[in-house]
């Protein structure tokens, strides 16, 4: 069962991380889901696959009234990211799903009507959550051809989808990165294989280096905090990606 952790709180403005489902079958990749709450409004980031819906819903319910979730942000189109949309829409048919315009006619194969989706243009857009203005930051080709991350300038948190992801072994699956050098070994193969474009990677590194980030929250693995954020960006900028190594 997943547990919800408050990773940021400032009055009515909160970030919750739903992580580590110990009842998850081993053949399903582990995922992190995040909920950004502001002034009673909430957006769920990469809500996960259908199979983890029960765990995510239960974890969210412990910290927040799920009926107040009116928005979903999907970094890209993968099933572990957004196939639970059918379940969330079953729960609340009025939910709006923000995702790249590129996937606007693909993701409805999971669920949703035409008016469910709010297409994000390639350059990104602002998404209001309560009084907070969040920014959809372009991360195309990392790894999906229509890919966005979500930045909260007030909380200084960047939700980074698959960038920063690590497939952690049992016993090394804490909420936060504690030992960067040890942790990054579990991220290396993933980034080499899944991130397809060196140019896109360099663009992203330049773009996010200009942001003020306290926490970098990936969809898989542990959260980078403080100096580990820039350490990760530097490591990623040097990494050779888009290669298949035996």
């Amino acid at each position: 069962m997943k547990t919800a952790h408050v990773i940021y709180e400032d009055g009515e403005h909160k970030w919750l991380a739903m992580v580590r489902d110990d009842t998850r079958p081993g053949f399903l990749v582990d995922t992190n889901e995040y909920l950004v709450v502001s002034d009673g409004d909430a957006i769920l980031l990469d809500p996960g696959g259908s199979e983890v819906f029960p765990a995510v819903f239960s974890a969210v319910s412990t910290g927040f009234d799920p009926r107040r979730i009116k928005k979903i942000f999907a970094s890209h189109q993968d099933p572990d990211v957004i196939s639970s949309l059918s379940m969330w829409l079953e729960f609340n048919p009025g939910i709006k799903c923000y995702l790249s315009w590129l996937w606007q006619s693909f993701v409805p194969h999971f669920a949703g009507q035409e008016d469910t989706f709010v297409p994000i243009p390639d350059g990104g857009m602002d998404i209001m959550v309560g009084a907070r203005r969040l920014q959809a930051i372009p991360a195309h080709y990392l790894h999906s051809s229509g890919n966005f991350h979500l930045y909260d300038p007030k909380a200084k948190i960047l939700f980074s989808g698959d960038v920063g992801a690590a497939l952690l072994p049992a016993g090394e699956d804490g909420l936060y990165v504690e030992d960067f050098d040890r942790h990054i070994r579990h991220a290396e193969a993933f980034h080499r294989r899944w991130m397809g474009s060196d140019k896109a990677k360099r663009d992203w590194c330049a773009r996010v280096s200009a942001l003020n980030i306290d926490m970098l929250c990936p969809q898989h693995g542990a959260i980078y905090r403080g100096a580990d954020v820039q350490r990760f960006i530097d490591w990623f900028s040097r990494l050779e990606v888009g290669v298949l190594k035996a």
Binding site: F57, S58, S61, S86, M87, E90, F91
Partner: protein, 207 residues
Amino acid sequence: MTNSHSSAEAGRELRRIVRINEEIKIVVATAFKINLMAMNAIFLAKRAGQSALGFGVLSNELRRFASDLQQQMAGLREATYGSVATVTAMLKQSRISRLLERARTEAQGEGKDLIQSLANRRDESTLAQSDEQMALLNRRLSHMIADTAQLVELGSVLARSAKIEAAYGGAFSVSLMQVSSDFETTIGDIQRSFENLTKNQSEDFAA
């Protein structure tokens, strides 16, 4: 929470539709063959002249029978397509119900109540509608199979009559007999397919 549509039931329903569709394909191919055979029989009757007038009339009727059969089979295929769409929706509903049941088990406090109330609403509306729709489609399919089986019976009578008429074909009698025997065999194949269709439909519909 009740879930009257288990995935196993929906899966069984889908396999039944596949079996029906396979039989339909066989019958459609055979109906096409009868159409060609009837055309050849009409030419043969013309060559035989006065002594094969009756055979010619029956060959025309068999050609019409082949055309009617093809039409009926197109209707059946459409009906099974409708069943596939309903079963697909049932499978989707069944998956949603399974996940809601797990969410209800795992959630606590208000989350549990919210899921329970959603599940109750679904049980009352969506699932009942699927049940009704599936029953309606099954009834329609059964009627269509029964109607078409009667048509096939008519084809069988025509083939037998053609055999009798062939005996009066004079010099062409042997050739006409051969053609009418082919009709009889081919329509016999269709009758067997319909026995399978009726069996598939009634067995699983009853289940």
